[in-house]
């Protein structure tokens, strides 16, 4: 559909880049922040930064859901695996460093850790192997949380439980506005998180913070268009919430998904690797689903983990304070093959995105 509908059309791209260039002098400095690993991928892969004038900059915030899982929660998953429980997770999660080891290292030492593409795959496995205990390590933002909710509310088998580690995007965006020296002038909001949560959660950004905010899709033209829309707002001195992605994002979001999330989860404060504790930024299973909570079921809780190794600067990369190539370890001690920090592990991590594109 993308090719047929010109979402990657170079002529379109040139046209929009030209319009941005024309507006640039009027707009002045425009520092745009996105919060999505996939947006960073599109921007880097299509070389979009090279199309922008000098005064328009796009930085990457904490948009990688795997990168921000605290080491303590990886430790909890490792503990479960070491107890003989089958731990299932998405592929990326496997190599994220815990305080002592990653799930991959636990697997190498004999634990049963399995990658799944979808939560439902894990449930199917549990049904086929009733003599084993299964846990799904539920990582991800609001795009992924609904699928966890579907399974949690779908009467999973008795040998199934969840280690919930979901996080919410709008609180992270609000945090970035509080980081004084970041000086953000506009937000690109993540299109697929927004497919679920709609536009409403972002309306406080223009209203309270005078921050232009545009919800964008993931084709290169989507992102360029969103940059144009923000630069245009800045040049007008305006601060509005706009939708660049109406083919997928509705004002109210996906009400079915939101309803299921609300029935399965409650919002709590959560720890973000490299950031610390953010209030109202995490999901936890409701009391009514306590039997499905792996932490309660297997009495596993790690309070404190070691999030950032010595020399690692992931905590600066994920809030957009430095670019990957400003980390002294980037592509030296820390590479995709031998990652040190979480940003280099996940396919949505800023460092890995930069590393993989540079080598293509």
């Amino acid at each position: 559909m993308a090719e047929k509908l010109r979402f990657r059309d170079p002529e379109f791209a040139k046209g929009i880049a030209s319009k941005i260039k024309n507006l640039a002098p009027k707009a002045g400095k425009v520092k745009i922040c996105h919060v999505c690993g996939t947006h960073e991928w599109t921007i880097t892969h299509y070389g979009l930064r090279s199309l922008l004038p000098e005064n328009v900059e796009v930085i990457a915030g904490p948009g990688c859901p795997v990168c921000i899982v605290p080491a303590a929660e990886i430790d909890e998953a490792v503990q479960l695996a070491q107890k003989g429980i089958v731990v299932t997770c998405f592929g990326d999660v496997l190599r994220v460093p815990g305080s002592q080891m990653s799930l991959l290292e636990a697997k190498a030492a004999g634990a049963d850790v399995r990658i799944v593409y979808a939560v439902s795959d894990a449930v199917e496995m549990a049904k086929r192997e009733p003599d084993k205990q299964f846990v799904f390590f539920a990582v991800g933002f609001e795009t992924t949380a609904p699928s966890t909710a579907v399974e949690a509310l779908g009467n999973p088998p008795l040998n199934f439980s969840f280690l919930v580690s979901h996080r919410l995007i709008p609180p992270a965006m609000e945090l970035l506005l509080g980081v004084g020296d970041l000086q953000i002038d506009g937000f690109i909001a993540p299109g697929h998180v927004s497919a679920i949560i709609g536009m409403k959660p972002y309306e406080l950004f223009p209203r309270v913070y005078r921050m232009p905010t545009v919800v964008a899709g993931f084709e290169p033209i989507d992102v360029l268009m969103a940059v144009y829309m923000i630069v245009k707002q800045v040049s007008e001195g305006a601060a509005r919430l706009e939708n660049e992605y109406p083919r997928v994002v509705k004002w109210e979001g996906n009400t079915k998904a939101l309803d299921l999330m609300n029935r399965a989860f409650m919002v709590t404060s959560g720890n973000w690797r490299g950031i610390g504790r953010l209030p109202d930024s995490a999901l936890q299973l409701r009391e009514s689903l306590k039997d499905l909570d792996a932490r309660a079921k297997f009495d596993v809780k790690v309070e404190q983990g070691r999030d950032i190794l010595l020399g690692c600067e992931c905590h600066l990369v994920i809030i957009g304070k430095i670019k990957p190539n400003e980390c002294p370890m980037f592509m030296k001690a820390c590479t995709p093959a031998k990652p040190i920090g979480a940003c280099m592990v996940s396919s949505e991590g800023t460092c890995r995105v930069w590393a993989k594109t540079a080598s293509e």
Partner: protein, 65 residues
Amino acid sequence: MSVEGTKANVDFGQGVVRDVNITLVEAKVGDYVLVHAGYAIQVIEEKEALETISLWNDILETSQK
């Protein structure tokens, strides 16, 4: 391409076909859906997509260069 209860058979293009859970959407055969980790999270309106392109064409044509 086909629907059975909460599962739909979806063509991802280039020969990739997979079952997708459609609990989160109201989708029918022939619809395009946005899939994330095995679950459809939104129906993509081709009409909206075409309108978006047409709007972008307008934006680029009016004014400038």
